[in-house]
Symmetry: C2
Amino acid sequence: MNGLIGLDWGTSSLRAYRLDGAGHIEETRHRPWGLRHLPEGGFDAALSAVTKGWPVLPRLACGMVGSRNGWREMPYLDLPAGAAEIGHALGRLMAADGMDVHIAPGLRDPHGPDVMRGEEAQLVGALSLRPALAGTSSWILPGTHSKWVTVRDGKVTGFRTLMTGELFALLQQHSILGTGTISATANPDAFARGVVTARDSGAAGALSRLFSARTLMLDGTLASESVPDYLSGLLVGEEFRAALADGLAHRDTPLQLIGDVALCERYRRAATHFDIELDPPLEDAAAHGLWQLALHAGLVHQAPKDIASC
Amino acid sequence: MNGLIGLDWGTSSLRAYRLDGAGHIEETRHRPWGLRHLPEGGFDAALSAVTKGWPVLPRLACGMVGSRNGWREMPYLDLPAGAAEIGHALGRLMAADGMDVHIAPGLRDPHGPDVMRGEEAQLVGALSLRPALAGTSSWILPGTHSKWVTVRDGKVTGFRTLMTGELFALLQQHSILGTGTISATANPDAFARGVVTARDSGAAGALSRLFSARTLMLDGTLASESVPDYLSGLLVGEEFRAALADGLAHRDTPLQLIGDVALCERYRRAATHFDIELDPPLEDAAAHGLWQLALHAGLVHQAPKDIASC
């Protein structure tokens, strides 16, 4: 039997994929067992439970599972790096069931420095799904810690982390901007207004415009229930403004989203205010990336096309 | 008997000044009775307790005491505005002791819009202490919500609020940047490194560099106990970078600090990285400003110099 069990294992959740011998996803399971919420029995118990009933197959994990607070720390791999470099740098540990778990290293951009864990598998998978973008492209992986990534000749050449998601949650939950506001029905106009405010902040930047989320409300020109959407627009817009200023994306180079559909939809809307049109995001990129890494590591073998199509 | 009781009444604290007939401070009392921590009996009880034993004198308050959640809401006064305009716009209420409490309006910059309450009294006081700066100058009032203010011909002509202090506290207490870090002994080098990182972020801005507070630590080039100082430098440096980009300060125009000595010292150190040399801050500016406003409102009368000097 050929195939792979791929694990996208982060801080707040665990996603397990069962891939067949051609790298197609046969089943996906999602559990809230991130590093911070492991079940009793820890990593071993979580792995055993999430793969219950699945055949014995090579297991490859990516994400914070390989961090200092994870199952075993795997050193970061320095840029530039692509599927081959990452695949050849897998680490491994022996689980309680006596079988190996391979773990992908994270990537480190020495310029900055900056680091990622898990996104590298998504990027590898995305590039296998969109080989035309391997030459020169930029990528956005929105989230708690959004990544903006540049790719050249199939390798990651640079990236930067923006704390957009975490900052939004902090400001909404704990700051004066969130006081008295509730995230009610979505307000696309307030979101767009935030994006445009960030864009038009120019070189001063949106950090200097944060307080506007309060003053516009005090001024009566922004409804309190629209503050969360305005704030979201301000922070997402700042990602685009800063990334363009930093050269992480260029208007004449392909830019592609990877990630959750709803979150990526916000980014697509924000992009229009920068005259950038984005395609719908690539999904399950991590599963495809884990397959590619397993191929390079020799854990699986691509079935010949004529057999795979039987 | 001539004189004034000045009250600088904010969200977290109350400062009461007893001024003599020439506007000199005779006594200052500081209580933790801001709007959020009023003693039993509320504003009336706080006023009665903080002025205990003082003679009956006109009472003038500034700050959040005049906000929607304060003792009585006073409408904002639109810019441009100086001592005369603010002094002529005082509101008042009758306290439980049957005597008036006058309350200064806050200022509103229609461009933005942006608002302040309390800082306007500090600015009026600071301009009376430094009349040479009344022509053209910029001012920094550091704090939870820092203000950068432009003054022309004795009037406030524009300002912007930066949430530096609040953001620092949020990130330190609740974000991944604060995880595992402690604010130990002060580290001026880490502070300077943060300032320089913000300065050199250029048009991209320091919001895009926030995550460096974590990656430098993971990289082993920033000690975890130095993260708070680095983060502080990053945010204070961003104030200077953004304010210069926004035209709120110019290298060829006087720039003056008002506020707490220790906090202002951080700003003086940050300024050196932007080739700006700042004088020590002006203190008790609010008390002097309340006196000036009371003069314009006719609540007190400046004693003739020869009598005052008796």
